[in-house]
Structure formats: C-alpha cells, structure tokens
C-alpha cells in the first residue's frame, strides 16, 4: 500500500494502528505512554494527509515517527520501567512458556534502545533487513551486524534475569 495516493486516512489507520501501538508498547514497556504516542502519530499523519504532503512510504514514515517519539520518551524518562508495566498478552501458552515470555520481555526492556528497536522490528514486526535499514536510517550490512550484537546481548540479559527470577 506504500506510495498509493488513493489511500484515505481511515485505510492507513486501520492497517497500522495495532502495529504502531505494539511497537511502542514493546519499546517502552508502558501501555499508557504507548497510547499517547500512537495518538500523536496518527494526529500528525492526519494533518499531513489533509495538507496534501506527499508521503512516499507511509509504513516507514509511521515507524520512523513512532520510533523517534519512543526514543524521546526514553531519554526524558528518569525512572526505571516498573515491571508491572510489562503487559502480558501471551496468547495460548502454558504457564511455563508464559513465565519465560515475561522474563524475555524484561530482558528486552533492559537492552539499550538501539538493540531493542532492531529486535522488535525484526522479531515482532517481521520487517526485512531492507525495511529496518530504512526505518533506522542505516545500511543492510549494519542491520545484520546490529541484530547479531542485539541477540548476543539479549541472550546474556535473559540468562541473568531468568537465573535471578
């Protein structure tokens, strides 16, 4: 649907509202803050569309804006993410799997934002390396190396938190 000028605001909103919110929740571990960011993103999109700005790739535009707003929030935030703010929407899983998923979400939130965003875009949002490179403003080889380092860090952190938990 990228670059399609016949798209209405409602089309884009329905297509991406959950994905952008999910990205923000996983970046921040905080549903309220993620809701505020989703609100900001779609109001800005509406303004751009009614002002006839040409957005060549709406999907990238939405994720770049969501990412920037999340990073601002993380920079401004002076407190740790409370663990209760890590929402759990586990799907159909056993208690053991569910517990592991929560541990992993905590490990993800403990990562540096640059690792976290790359992992979320790849693992949860299913973006290709090319798309992630576009959103993060870098190259495909850099994304490949970044995801490798991010996975190594997540593995270490997950080991620590699951041993402690």
């Amino acid at each position: 649907m990228d670059g399609d000028n016949s798209l209405t605001f409602t089309d884009v909103f329905n297509e991406y509202k959950d994905r952008t919110f999910d990205f923000a929740v996983k970046m921040l571990g905080d549903r309220d803050a993620a809701g505020d960011i989703a609100q900001e993103v779609f109001v800005r999109l509406y303004t751009k569309m009614t002002d006839h700005y040409r957005i060549t790739d709406i999907k990238s535009w939405l994720f770049i804006l969501t990412r920037n707003l999340c990073l601002n929030k993380i920079r401004d935030r002076c407190h740790e993410v409370p663990l209760s703010a890590v929402s759990d929407n586990p799907g159909d899983h056993s208690d053991r799997d569910r517990h592991r998923q929560i541990e992993l979400r905590r490990a993800l939130l403990a990562l540096e934002p640059e690792y976290r965003e790359a992992l979320i875009l790849r693992e949860y949002q299913g973006f290709s390396y090319t798309e992630i490179a576009e959103i993060l403003g870098t190259t495909v080889p850099a994304i490949r190396a970044l995801l490798y380092r991010a996975r190594c860090r997540l593995r270490e952190t997950y080991r620590q938190t699951s041993f402690m938990g």
Binding site: D18, D22, A34, V43, T50, G91, Q101, R144, L147
Partner: protein, 155 residues
C-alpha cells in the same frame, strides 16, 4: 574470534537473510563446531519465544481519543472552506497571490493618497496633525495615518 562470523550468520539465517553460498558455508562449519551448534540452539529458543509472544492491539479508549482529536481538527478546518478549493491551492500559489495582493493594496493606497492632498477635509486632517505634533509628514506617514483613521472608523 573465528566463530563470530558464523554466529552472525546464524543470526541472519533466523531472519531468512543468508545467501545460498553462506548457508552452505555455515552448514559446513556447524558440522564441525559444537560451540556454534549450542549457540544456534539457544538463539532458536529465544527467537521462538519472542515470535510466539502475542501482539498488542490499540485500546478502544485510545482510538476514541484519536478520533476526537481528528474530528476537532476537521471542524477547525471547515472554517477555511469559505475560500472554496482552499485545500487544492498549492502553498506557493497562495504565497505569490498574497504578495501580489499586498503590492496592489499598497499601490491603491499610495495612489489615492495623491488625490487626498487635493481633496479638502482630508487635507485639513493632515495639517491639523502636523501642527500639533510639529513633524513633517511624508507620503508614508499619510498612508499610515489613513490606515489608522480607517481602522478607527470601524471601531
């Protein structure tokens, strides 16, 4: 370390981003390296766990707030609709139009000003002002004064 290259390949393989040649190269290495096989198993486990986690949906109350803000923005814009086709006029055209209008307005005002000097009444007002304030009126002063008088008349 020699294995770093293969571990990075393992990460890329999870994402389906390995070339055929790299896949062959990685498989050959895995056949001989227990350390990389253990790393691969761990990455697979973490990735499965990640990918099986549910996704979040935008809460209904947030959606309502977004729609309310958009309705407000829509209503605010409706006020501009009196300029029919406002939405479809490119910004540059609006700017150029405003500039032309400003020039025309200035011309009209300074043009009629030449006439003011020969119209009695208007001239009186100017001389009265020059007497009390003891200043030399230029053409620009008169234009400004006229604008002031006009706006005062509207009050």
């Amino acid at each position: 370390m020699r294995c770093d290259k293969y571990k990075e390949m393992l990460s890329a393989r999870l994402d389906g981003e390995l070339t055929e040649f790299e896949t062959w190269e990685l498989d050959s290495h895995l056949a001989t390296c227990p350390d990389c096989r253990a790393f691969a198993a761990e990455l697979d486990h973490i990735s499965d766990l990640n990918r099986s986690t549910g996704t979040e949906s935008l809460p209904a109350d947030v959606e309502d707030r977004i729609m309310t803000r958009i309705d407000n923005a829509k209503n605010a814009r409706k006020g501009w609709r009196v300029f029919s086709g406002y939405y479809r006029i490119p910004r540059t055209v609006v700017w150029i139009g405003s500039l032309v209008l400003a020039v025309l307005l200035y011309d009209a005002l300074s043009g009629s000003n030449h006439m003011n000097t020969i119209i009695p009444g208007h001239g009186d007002a100017v001389s009265e002002n020059s007497q009390t304030r003891k200043i030399v009126l230029t053409e620009k002063d008169v234009v400004e004064r006229r604008v002031f008088t006009a706006s005062k008349d509207h009050l």
